[in-house]
Amino acid sequence: MKVLGLTGNEAVAEAMRQLNPDVCAAYPITPQTELMEKFSSFVSDGKVKTELVLAESEHSAMSACIGASCAGGRVMTATSANGLALMWEMLYIAASYRCPIVMGVVNRALSGPINIHCDHSDSMGARDAGWIHIFSENSQEAYDNAVQAVKIAEHPDVLLPVMVMLDGFITSHTLERVEILDDEVVSRFVGEYVPKYSLLRSERPMTFGPLDFHDYYFEHKRIQFEAMEKAKPVVRDVSKEFEKLTGRPFDFLEAYRMEDAEIGVIALGSTVGTARGVVDELREQGKKVGLIKLRVFRPFPVKEIAQLAKNLKALAVMDRSNSFGAFGGPVFGETCAACYGTGLQIPIVNYIYGLGGRDTTFEEIRGLYGEIETVAREGKQIDNVRFLNVRE
């Protein structure tokens, strides 16, 4: 193990160096650019045996990744925002062809108006494409998640693509202390990828992606649904195995100071770090507050969320994206659905925050806890969907 000063982008590139994918096809986009720039220098310096394909667009990049994955290779790439949007139709194809591609998604707001800073509208928009979604709190976790993602994706029960999210600029461009495992330890942890089906096995020719009509398509989608179900125990097993290796705890979510908490907040990405500080501060004042860090958004930890919400008096859900016309943001909607049918009758309030990189500080999160505490204590009625730190 060694300790390096790395940005989130560099940390993921470092993981990619150790994971040594057979093929990486990518296209640059801010704030992901530095990640691929760093990885391409590893390719140029002969540190990896990766075939680096510099595609003419993200649509082509993802298409090349799918081809390489069907051919039986370990495949990785990375993108952000509009780049992810341009991959759209290929994201669904990657998942439905069961290609275990691992992609770093450096979260950035989708245009328009044009903005290059962090929010989660890009990956949240792709939440139904059939990929596993893992969010990172900081550079360390971006590295940790990238390594685990490959093992999860390539598991024979899963064979699904995985997105590893890190917050644009906030995590991607901030230098942090990152513990890097030894190369052999990572190689041993993920093992060699042995594809179940491969296009390049000439002695056993196969067809990938045939026409599939009303007579079989639905059954194939049912199999895909099952793969996402089977991903749940695999995500947990891989998390626990990595935890043993590093001493850092991993699971679908982290319950921070939730034991006797009456007020809970769900957050994901870098905001968790800030909220953690606010919780510590409020705990010192004797307030029974806790924090739920959502690490794995797909598959969504339905039972775990409902279990943690059970003893609360009020729950706030922070969404760094909006789902226009829906009942709040995506994490809020999922959380409400998870609690439905459990008999839980507490107020659940949604806070849309940080769109387009709007800074979210201690002060705002302190205010959020204060507001939700009033809701719990006085039964005060407020709007279910609120906007944190937007000018009136």
Partner: protein
């Protein structure tokens, strides 16, 4: 295709087809609107039609033309157009005028 189709647990993920050349088992001749009619008495078995057929619908036996596989022929008409025999050994006839 006549037996009951498999349930999802018995199918290969992603619809991957692990058996090469199994398109033979899938009837595609029903798309046809024009049917090739072969006149054996004019045919010289030059096999130009066999070379040009974009499917594999020209049936041969011992190197001789013996007929057309109507289960897979889509009626493109290339065989009839390319037939070099004077007066044509293959001509196209609308399916509506053909007996089933």
């Amino acid at each position: 295709m006549s037996q009951k189709p498999e349930g999802w647990k018995d199918l290969t993920m992603a619809g991957i087809i692990t058996e090469a050349g199994n398109a033979e088992k899938f009837e595609t001749g029903s798309w046809r609107s024009d049917r090739p009619i072969w006149d054996e008495s004019k045919c010289t078995s030059c096999l130009i039609c066999w070379i040009y057929c974009p499917d594999s619908s020209i049936v041969l036996k011992d190197g001789k033309m013996v007929g057309i596989d109507l289960e897979h022929c889509k009626g493109c008409g290339i065989c009839a157009a390319e037939c070099p025999v004077k007066g044509k050994a293959i001509h196209m006839k609308p399916e509506s005028e053909c007996e089933l």
